[in-house]
């Protein structure tokens, strides 16, 4: 965080609404996009964004280190989004969580690093997919997996920082990250099979 922003955060912590407004202006777009990635819904994203900034100002006395402002803001946003998602119980959301063996995934959490060393199986699948397919696959992930994907790839937080933001253990974050990537690969491959089946159907039709 640069000195100018740190000064703004300190002013906001002291109750300055003008500083709060500036901080809002500098981060609202990014936070809206984050909310959108988690919820996939514009109206919900708008509500989450507003609630995040309301909470930010009302609970500013809880931020002890100004340097942590951004990740603290992410923390408010993520938890607000999760609560909203939880409330929308009746929504039909396709989750692929069940297709993986939980125990094995914990053991395989360390594979993330290994997978990063090479192109890896996900890389090969991604290369073959269209943007639309990847977009749809991401939407199908459970909200907790989408969140770690977001914080890791978009916000470029470390697994340790993600653990703080999401209020989970670092091991859980690694596990979710690994699982998210595996799920993504599984969804994309499954879609490929369906697509191929469709094509074959048309050809034989």
């Amino acid at each position: 965080m640069n000195e100018e922003k740190k000064a703004l955060v300190e002013l906001m912590l002291g109750g300055s609404e003008a500083a709060f407004d500036e901080l809002y202006r500098s981060s609202s777009k990014k936070l809206y996009r984050m909310a959108y990635f988690i919820t996939g819904n514009r109206s919900d994203s708008e509500d989450i964004l507003q609630e995040t900034f309301v909470k930010c100002f009302l609970h500013r006395d809880k931020l002890r280190e100004p340097e942590r402002f951004e990740s603290w803001l992410y923390q408010i946003l993520v938890r607000t989004a999760w609560r909203l998602e939880k409330r929308k119980k009746n929504r039909s959301e396709l989750s692929f969580e069940g297709i993986l063996d939980q125990e094995k995934d914990h053991v395989r959490a360390d594979w993330i690093e290994e997978d990063e060393k090479g192109k890896g199986p996900l890389g090969a699948v991604l290369e073959a997919e269209t943007a639309g397919q990847i977009r749809e696959a991401l939407k199908k992930l459970d909200v907790k997996y989408r969140t770690v994907i977001l914080l890791y790839y978009y916000n470029e937080l470390s697994t340790k920082e993600i653990a703080r933001v999401t209020g989970t253990m670092e091991g859980t974050v690694k596990s979710r990250l690994f699982k998210a990537r595996k799920l993504l690969k599984g969804i994309l491959e499954a879609e490929d099979i369906v697509e191929r089946e469709k094509e074959r159907g048309i050809c034989h039709g």
């Binding site: 777009k29 990635f37 507003q50 309301v54 990063e116 943007a131 994907i149």
Partner: protein, 258 residues
């Protein structure tokens, strides 16, 4: 080709998200946020002041829990603001005279070694469901002790804010004054954390008060001793490990003050 899949995914997500533009105008949204803040900040002010005293967001609820029906509607919330701190008990007594038009007993220290640390006068507003002001009065807060913090509050008696009789309270008459001692369990939860089913049940039964906004989950006992003397209502309270009989002994010392 190292980290290709990582980079591909990252690039994809960034490209996707950077193309998303909110529907609402940024400045209009800021106005909405300020409206919400104005609506909710009054209540927060109260919580903050109380927190400054101890953990006293809870006191709001405690007082609220003992409020009876009022003539002009029902008080359903209290808002409190204060901006002047007293650094000595003498200073707080002076502030009480001017702002409360009363002279509550505020000792310098107690025989258990607890001394006055700081204090302030809070302007308390009782509001109904629609946020209409039903009552307003001043209340003195005096904090004692650094580790085992105990707070003494005093205000001119308000008929609209009278306590219900409480079967769980312990009563003792001292110098012709009835002292009421209570012990109430509190559960502090981080904002948004759902209480366990058994805690919800206890709350419904009035056996537990749940308060949100804490940094971490904590269970504490809120101990109070209250009494009225010469038209002034007093309350000694603590979230520390101080036992009720210690608080009662302190209350007696306040009563014994000339």
């Amino acid at each position: 080709m190292a980290r290709t899949s990582e980079e591909q995914l990252k690039r994809f997500i960034n490209t996707e998200l950077d193309s998303i533009t909110p529907d609402m105008d940024e400045e209009l949204r800021l106005l909405e946020i300020h409206k919400k803040l104005n609506k909710r900040s009054d209540f927060m002010k109260f919580r903050k002041n109380k927190l400054a005293a101890v953990f006293t967001a809870m006191l709001v609820i405690t007082v609220l829990g003992t409020v009876t029906a009022v003539a002009a509607g029902k008080i359903t919330g209290f808002i409190s603001t204060s901006d002047e701190n007293a650094h000595s008990s003498a200073e707080l007594r002076e502030l009480s005279k001017t702002q409360m038009q009363a002279s509550p007993k505020i000792p310098d220290n107690f025989s258990n070694g607890m001394s006055f640390v700081n204090g302030y006068i809070a302007q308390v507003k009782g509001v109904d469901d629609d946020n209409n002001q039903v009552i307003t009065y001043s209340e003195a807060y005096a904090n004692y002790g650094s580790d085992q913090k105990v707070t003494l509050t005093s205000n001119v008696h308000q008929d609209l804010v009278s306590e219900d009789s409480d079967p769980s309270g312990q009563y003792e008459v001292y110098q012709g004054i009835t002292l009421t001692a209570r012990e109430e369990p509190y559960l502090f939860l981080p904002e948004g954390k759902e209480p366990a089913e058994e805690d919800k049940k206890l709350e419904e039964e009035g056996k537990l008060t749940i308060s949100y906004g804490s940094g971490q989950e904590e269970r504490k006992l809120f101990r109070t001793v209250s009494w009225s003397e010469n038209g002034i209502d007093y309350l000694l309270f603590t979230f520390s490990d101080k036992e009720l009989n210690s608080l009662t002994a302190m209350a007696k010392e306040v009563i014994d003050m000339k």
